[in-house]
């Protein structure tokens, strides 16, 4: 089995990831805390002498309001799979009711990204053993899925929606067997025909989020609603922007009222000029908005809504807003790889996760909302009541998705981004 190394030979890392998941620690936080322990050991006498020293000590993460984790959704490693059913034979049985599924399924997903009991419930219902392999960043995920051009030995994965056109074109994922996924009807009307994958032929939307900004009201008591705040000289040296070219150009474009995802040179130059104007006010272009906001290094930062939910585990006071000018809406998907050894089980997995109650349980656990209209009744009311996680229809209409840039259009962004950063 090509995927064998993912599960067995890196037991230590898997254990580490489990611990991180249980404590809701990101890899960066883990490194930071190991660093803090090192300093604590080295500086113990000095720090002890200096009672005021506010050393960041490893504090137990409080559980999240709304999701309330009590234990982690741990991986269920399957015994090495025996010879699986021939996928070609299985796929040829295209009936309205799914044929007998394979005995195993290999899912490749983010940490803490599905409900606490989702895996166990799926295994109980279908008698399929799920092997749940985690990744911690999207670059690793894409490299793994593309390493053999057909999914790297995984059956199901969760790529960002912007990746779908490329994955389809390069034959990394396969079309869904929609007749085996009746729950696809549960998707809200907005999600039935997304621009990145017409009619959801090859993917099913999973969660969605926004890119706005967060701030610490202890430092900035104002009630902020506009992108202007990230250009406010009053916060000079305490502002952070995401280290992400498309997100930064989108933020500037919203502020200027320009079209998002523009590839027009004049419009991009206007956005660049605005970002050049902002740069002297910035502390950093951050790739750790969570750590920088919770440590107080930044007072206000461009941020993803999902990261904000995680910031509140450390500092519940931190606020987030979807700016009134509009914001980016991001989403990700569930897909089946073209090389999937267990395609029937994979389609059943997707159908299972589209079930109204399972989908709601996933959202309640992770704090991410999904596109599942039927799930709304069972989702935690606290999540739905938060206008920054579940914006009004008026606000929702102002959200725009990023597109996957390629070729000369991508170069336009990269050149300007490097000119800005250098």
């Amino acid at each position: 089995m090509t995927h064998e190394h993912d599960g067995s030979s890196i037991d230590l890392e898997r254990r580490l990831v489990q611990v991180m998941a249980e404590n809701r620690l990101t890899r960066r936080q883990l490194l930071e805390r190991m660093g803090a322990l090192g300093i604590a050991a080295a500086l113990a006498p000095i720090v002890a002498a200096c009672a005021q020293a506010g050393l960041t000590s490893p504090s137990p993460s409080s559980s999240a309001a709304g999701s309330g984790p009590t234990s982690s959704a741990t991986a269920v490693p399957s015994a090495s799979a025996a010879a699986s059913a021939s996928p070609s034979a299985a796929a040829s049985v295209a009936a309205a009711s799914p044929p007998t599924p394979e005995k195993d399924l290999i899912v490749y997903n983010w940490d803490s990204y599905i409900g606490e009991n989702t895996i166990a419930q799926f295994e109980d219902k279908y008698g399929i053993k799920v092997k749940y392999v985690r990744f911690t960043d999207a670059v690793t995920q894409m490299a793994s899925l593309r390493k053999d051009g057909k999914g790297g030995g995984y059956d199901v994965s969760y790529p960002a929606s912007t990746e779908i056109p490329g994955l389809v074109r390069d034959g990394v994922i396969q079309p869904l067997h929609r007749e085996w996924i009746p729950n696809i009807a549960n998707l809200g009307a907005d999600w039935q025909n997304p621009s990145y994958d017409p009619n959801n032929q090859n993917s099913v939307p999973n969660y969605w989020w926004t890119t706005g900004f967060t701030w610490d009201p202890a430092k900035i008591p104002a009630d902020l609603t506009s992108w202007d705040a990230l250009w406010d000289p009053a916060y000079s040296g305490k502002i952070g922007m995401l280290d992400d070219v498309q997100e930064c150009f989108a933020a500037a474009s919203f502020k200027l009222g320009l079209p998002i995802n523009s590839t027009d040179d004049a419009e991009l130059d206007q956005a660049l000029a605005l970002l050049e104007q902002q740069k002297p006010l910035l502390r950093k272009y951050t790739d750790d908005d969570i750590g920088d906001m919770t440590s107080g290094q930044l007072w206000i930062s461009h941020a993803w809504s999902g990261d904000w939910v995680q910031m509140t585990y450390d500092n519940p006071a931190i606020k987030y807003v979807i700016p009134s000018e509009g914001a980016i809406r991001g989403s990700d998907t569930m897909v089946i790889t073209s090389g999937a050894q267990h395609p029937i089980a994979a389609n059943l997995w997707i159908d299972f996760n589209l079930d109204a109650r399972i989908s709601a349980a996933n959202s309640n656990w992770t704090g991410y909302l999904g596109p599942n209209a039927a799930a709304m009744e069972t989702i935690n009311p606290a999540l739905l009541a938060d206008p920054n996680l579940n914006p009004s229809a008026e606000m929702y209409a102002k959200l725009t998705e990023l597109i996957q840039l390629e070729g000369a259009n991508l170069d336009k962004y990269t050149q300007r981004w490097n000119a800005l950063r250098a």
């Binding site: 660093g35 300093i39 200096c50 740069k279 991508l410 990269t414 490097n418 950063r421």
Partner: protein
């Protein structure tokens, strides 16, 4: 690999003229030498020359619209595009950080190496192990430790505020200061070790002789110790400057919005820009510039050292 044919040629010539019996002692030692060099050559070939050749070839290719590398037509277009005025500030930052790091590492490292060599006594080995001790912890974790020390709510600012030296936190992290500090911290052991070797090899009788001829301690150091340990200083400078100019991790983690280095520019081209041929060209060019500059500096240094 250059050694092997030479050895064979010598043996062949020897067999023809001297009529020495084949398999004599000379042959065995030559081939034996080549045999022992082989692992090193294989290592260099596999982990230096092959990757370098791969970068060079990729840099001559083109990127199609979907980000795939096309090597069917090789050309120099990426090199023509590589030099852009926008990159000058980032390159200047890299040069500045590397130069400061090198100077600081030698200024701090020389007294340490000198002290270990002259006053270390029986504990020399222990002291050298202490110099290398930080390597036992991952560089990434040590850099995160610096973040915790330097940030606005960090250890250093808390102590400064506690003793009343400042009322507001001083911006230490995400500045030039934190980048140079982190890099100097990281590269200091690479400076200390060659400095120690050259100082330790210095014959103390020479210094003693200078003192006997009424040189002051300062004068003996400037006219005897310093010139004779110059090779160690040059080695330390090379071992610090060359990796420092391409350092990506330290400026990225400890730096801020105003501290972009040329390594970051290359990283952006490779990752979000998805243009490996262009990134390879820029990277290769930087390597050539660094190497050329270093060789030029070495040559002029050597001329000066010998002229003196």
């Amino acid at each position: 690999m250059a050694d092997l044919p030479l050895g064979e040629r010598t043996v062949a010539a020897g067999a023809a003229t001297d009529a020495r019996p084949p398999g004599g002692p000379r042959r065995r030692s030559r081939l034996g030498g080549a045999f022992f060099v082989l692992p090193g050559i294989v290592w260099l070939g596999a982990f230096f020359l092959v990757p370098l050749a791969a970068i060079l070839i990729v840099s001559l290719g083109t990127n199609d619209a979907t980000g795939h590398i096309d090597l069917s037509v090789l050309n120099l277009r990426n090199y023509v595009q590589a030099i852009r005025p926008e990159y000058v500030p980032a390159f200047a930052n890299s040069l500045r950080y590397a130069a400061l790091t090198t100077v600081l590492s030698i200024l701090i490292g020389y007294p340490i190496a000198y002290w270990i060599s002259r006053y270390g006594g029986r504990r020399k080995v222990l002291l050298l192990i202490l110099v290398m001790l930080p390597f036992w912890t991952s560089y990434l974790i040590r850099t995160y430790a610096w973040m915790i020390i330097l940030r606005d709510n960090g250890v250093l600012n808390s102590m400064l505020q506690a003793v009343g030296l400042t009322s507001e936190p001083i911006a230490l992290l995400n500045t030039d200061f934190s980048v140079v500090l982190g890099m100097t911290y990281g590269f200091l052991p690479f400076a200390i070790l060659p400095l120690y070797v050259s100082i330790d090899r210095l014959d103390e009788n020479l210094v003693q002789a200078a003192r006997d001829l009424y040189a002051s301690g300062r004068s003996a150091f400037l006219h005897v110790t310093l010139p004779l340990t110059m090779p160690g200083i040059i080695a330390a400078a090379l071992l610090t400057f060359i990796p420092a100019i391409g350092d990506y991790v330290t400026p990225d983690l400890l730096g801020g919005a105003q501290t972009t280095t040329i390594a970051k520019v290359v990283q952006v081209i490779f990752t979000s820009g998805r243009d490996w041929p262009y990134g390879s060209a820029l990277g290769f060019l930087l390597m050539v510039v660094t190497l050329g500059g270093t060789l030029l500096a070495l040559r002029s240094l050597r001329r000066e050292t010998f002229a003196a």
